[in-house]
């Protein structure tokens, strides 16, 4: 069973829930105070504006008791996925290295992007090496930065690219270091990503009918 955690201000819990059901993954939405890590094999921190993103995106959620439990799950090798605000919470709480800075244009950006799979050894991207996928982003603070370029190069999972997989500054929507859209820990069980796979999981609402997000989420099935 995968838990989807709802903090006050989380907005994407129902979307992630619907997408996981579509992907055939058993899941449940849990309010952050009610979260019992022993009952789940994995946890998703969905997008939104936890605690209003007051102070700094994700920072208040990062200091909750809930995140201590999530950290324990990560250390136990269980699955921990942060999408958008969830990614921001993961870096704020130190589960992943680096920071998510305000977009270079200093404004919220909602957009469908192409992404290239760099690491095929994570739970979500297994077998998708070098594949180009399409998902939407929607954030104001998604510019990934880390002061260790080697760490970035070896841990990045997805990079913003064009439709042919070329990675260049032109297709970097927010100014991320190395066009990074997603990183994971070395073991590949803790993954943070700015793009929203749950929003690329339904043909009806997809920009071009593709459901690449669903392809990623389906991989949770064997763990859940």
């Amino acid at each position: 069973m995968i838990a989807i955690i709802k903090f006050p201000g989380t907005t994407c819990e129902t979307d992630v829930y619907k997408a996981l059901i579509e992907a055939g993954v058993p899941t449940v939405i849990v309010k952050y105070k009610d979260f019992d890590p022993d009952r789940y094999n994995g946890v998703i921190l969905p997008g939104g504006f936890s605690f209003g993103d007051y102070l700094r995106a994700g920072s208040i959620a990062a200091s909750t008791e809930t995140m201590k439990k999530v950290k324990q799950m990560a250390e136990d090798g269980k699955i921990v996925i942060g999408i958008c605000n969830g990614f921001q919470i993961l870096v704020e709480s130190g589960l992943l290295k680096g920071a998510l800075l305000p977009n270079l244009k200093l404004r919220f950006i909602s957009k469908w992007v192409y992404l290239k799979v760099i690491r095929a050894d994570t739970i979500l991207t297994k077998g998708l090496d070098k594949k180009i996928i399409r998902m939407p982003i929607a954030h104001a603070e998604g510019r990934y930065y880390v002061d260790d370029i080697d760490y970035a190069k070896t841990h990045m999972v997805l990079q913003y690219c064009d439709e042919n997989g070329n990675i260049s500054e032109d297709v970097n929507p927010n100014g991320s270091l190395l066009n990074i859209a997603s990183i994971a820990n070395e073991e590949g069980n803790v993954i943070g990503m700015m793009p929203h796979p749950e929003r690329a999981s339904f043909k009806l609402t997809s920009i071009d009918g593709t459901v690449d997000g669903l392809i990623l989420l389906r991989r949770l099935g064997e763990w859940a």
Partner: protein, 709 residues
């Protein structure tokens, strides 16, 4: 704190009460009787709207926060439109953000889940720095609030006119969805219910309703602007939907604060409120200020005593203030007490029945002397198509989280209407339309025109209009020429909605929109229409070699068009021929359902030229012959830039089918051209016009102006 009431109203109050109200009572009356809350200058005419329709569940009844219609399978759609014009002129970020918060609270006060927002923004000339600042902060404010609460902004309008230089229009519409049998009223029907207030009351927005009901003074009015707290708004949203089953009535605290909410929720009964029980954001707030404060993110619930605990516990989980502040009484008197002492004691019926006003009307329009239109085509094309009204609004909507909810099927910028999916599997199309330039020429034709345009826009995705709300924005109603246009516009809207059989289930009026020289804005009535996709949905697609078919007659009526505005061409406003709008819309819907077209665009702002341009921005070229346009004029300029109603262009592989279909419906259509692969080239009567600069301008204009602003 100034009181905004007219001397005649103050005399009326003294007469009805038989005494002089105290200062706090004057402030309560000022709020409840404000134009903003009481509709005293508009209500008589609003009664003329068509509101009867079998699918209406909740219409324009007094003191309901939003209207609702049945969409089948036990579901209802709730719809509402509002503006935050005055606050946005002073503090655009908070003014626009609280506009979103306010309309969302109207939707949840029906127990409905908000599923879509639209924003309709009108600002002055972007060559003036202040307007760039206003627009940037208006969009940022809408984004900050809408994104934070997880409701997608799926569409809207962004247009420009010099009359909005000091007075931008910031309109927001929202759609909600609720089980039909779970809709909550905003009024009570029995005494004894407890009044429960959620949220803290602060010193912001003091006298906001009164402020919105007069001209901007140019003095320091920041204290009347509310401050937005979207996180609190999200908690109010989540918890209200959680407890909706446990309460008898829900009322948003908006204009006029507690004074208005408490008065309206009573529905003619009475209420007693103990001010000391109201949780405050600041210490030692003046009790009289507490009553009229417009602090956002507050809701009032009428609750059976046995359910009070459960309701407040739901808020406590989020550490959000919730308390019983009073109760509904049988005695029809509104009482606000402070530590046992009556501060306000006013009969409910006095408050709920302000005097109605009929202001003088005067038609100051002179007949237009028409001239032969003689403009170089190239310059007309360039000037009209680079006008900011016609450029891509990507800069604005890319700041909105329009994908949240995973229900946005037709996304901003993709078509003339937005489309969202509903829980019963049906698809709902939504569109808002206004046409201030046409309204400035002829309020009546414009009133009809905006209803017809919204109806056509819904047809382009395969939907038929089923419900509408209106928003009427004008200058000072006491000016006879302003009030004349207001009355004319209402007549037009009423007539057209009756023709299309579309009930108006709610609306809003905003007067006193003027610049700092006292010049009114162009009259800006606006219609928000929603309808269900009938069978198939059209997602626009352009392909090489498709035929361009024009449906409907073109007329040489240039009045109120973008061309005549830019080139100052005197001309008659178009006559809106509603039957042609209806029939051509039916042709389009039928063509979509039969799978015959890949692209549909109504002909409106910028005329046929702008509709053809919307094909070019897909990276294709278009070739047309103006001789093939069915029209009452040979003049190429008039054919290409007229904005007369009842028309579409569609792209198809089977042009004859469309022409025959039209004939069978009693309307005309003709093949006027073809799509080709010559990117950026518009070929008119065998002459190529390279529009590369205009296409570039289309994509870059707002980015450049706003990005560096």
């Amino acid at each position: 704190m100034g009181i905004n009431l007219l001397p005649i109203e103050m005399d009326e109050i003294r007469k009805r009460l038989g005494r002089e109200p105290n200062e706090t009572e004057w402030r309560v009356i000022d709020a409840v009787w404000s134009e903003h809350c009481s509709y005293k200058s508009s209500k008589i005419f609003l009664k003329s709207f068509s509101i009867d329709s079998p699918n209406v569940i909740m219409g324009i009844k007094d003191w309901q926060d939003a209207g609702a219609v049945d969409i089948g399978d036990g579901w209802a759609v709730v719809i509402k439109v509002e503006s935050h014009n005055h606050p946005s002129a002073i503090d655009p970020f908070n003014g626009a953000a609280t506009g979103v918060g306010g309309i969302i609270r109207d939707i949840i006060s029906k127990g409905a889940k908000p599923i879509a927002l639209m924003d309709m923004i009108r600002v002055g000339n972007l060559k003036i720095k202040k307007n760039v600042w206003l627009l940037k902060n208006i969009i940022a404010g809408i984004a900050a609030y809408g994104n934070s609460i997880g409701v997608p902004v799926v569409g809207g309008e962004l247009s420009f006119d010099d009359t909005y230089n000091d007075n931008p229009l910031v309109d927001v519409a929202a759609i909600g969805i609720v089980r039909k049998d779970k809709i909550k009223p905003s009024i009570v029907d029995k005494a004894g219910l407890k009044l429960v207030l959620a949220g803290l009351t602060g010193v912001d927005g003091l006298g906001g309703a009164s402020f919105a009901s007069r001209k901007l003074s140019g003095e320091d009015e920041i204290g009347a602007v509310q401050i937005a707290d979207p996180f609190a708004g999200k908690i109010i949203l989540d918890v209200t939907l959680e407890i909706a089953d446990k309460v008898e009535a829900i009322k948003d605290l908006g204009g006029g604060g507690l004074a208005v909410a408490v008065t309206e929720i009573t529905n003619g009964l009475g209420a007693t409120v103990d001010i000391e029980k109201i949780p405050l954001r600041v210490k030692n707030m003046n009790p009289s200020d507490v009553i009229i404060s417009e602090t956002q993110e507050r809701m009032l619930y009428a609750v059976e005593e046995k359910n009070v605990k459960e309701v407040c516990e739901a808020f406590e989980e989020y550490e959000y203030p919730c308390s019983v502040i009073g109760e509904i009484t049988n005695e029809p008197v509104i009482k606000f007490r402070y530590i046992g002492k009556d501060l306000v004691s006013l009969p409910t019926n006095v408050l709920l029945n302000p005097p109605r006003f009929l202001w003088p009307i005067k038609n100051t329009k002179k007949n237009v002397e028409e001239k032969i239109v003689d403009l170089p085509l190239e310059s007309a094309i360039y000037t009209v198509l680079t006008h900011p009204d016609l450029v891509s609004k990507g800069w604005a909507y890319s700041q909105f989280d329009y994908e949240v909810n995973t229900s946005t099927v037709v996304k901003p910028g993709d078509a003339d209407s937005a489309v969202v999916s509903l829980p019963n599997g049906k698809l709902l199309a939504i569109k808002a339309d206004a046409n201030p330039d046409m309204c400035a020429e002829d309020g009546y034709e414009c009133g009809k025109g905006i209803v017809a345009e919204a109806y056509r826009n819904l047809a382009t995705v395969g939907a038929r209009g089923m419900v509408a709300v209106d928003h009427l924005q004008f200058g000072d109603p006491k000016k006879a020429e302003v009030y004349y246009t207001f009355v004319e516009a209402i007549r037009g809207i009423g007539e057209a909605t009756r023709f299309f059989n579309i009930p108006i289930v709610g609306g809003k009026v905003s007067f006193y929109n003027e610049n700092n020289q006292g010049r009114p804005i162009k009259p800006t009535p606006l219609i928000v229409m929603a309808g269900l996709v009938q069978d198939k949905l059209l997602k626009n697609r352009v392909e090489d070699n498709l035929y361009v078919v024009s449906v409907g007659y073109t007329r040489k009526e240039l009045g109120g068009s973008l061309l005549s505005k830019i080139f100052k061409i005197p001309s008659q406003a178009p006559k809106v021929r509603l039957q042609e709008d209806l029939l051509s819309s039916e042709v389009v819907i039928d063509s979509i359902n039969e799978g015959k077209i890949t692209f549909a665009k109504d002909v409106s702002r910028g005329g046929l030229a702008a509709s053809l341009f919307s094909i070019l921005v897909h990276g294709y070229g278009v070739e047309i012959s103006t001789k093939s346009i069915l029209s009452d004029t040979d003049n190429v300029i008039e054919n290409l830039f007229s904005e007369s109603s009842g028309r579409f262009i569609v792209l198809t592989n089977e042009p004859e089918w469309i022409v025959e279909k039209s004939k069978s419906k009693g309307i005309v259509a003709s093949i006027i051209g073809r799509v080709n692969k010559k990117t950026n080239i518009l070929t008119i009567d065998n002459i190529d016009y390279n529009l590369k600069n205009i296409v570039d301008n289309y994509f870059n204009f707002l980015e450049e102006v706003m990005g560096n602003g």
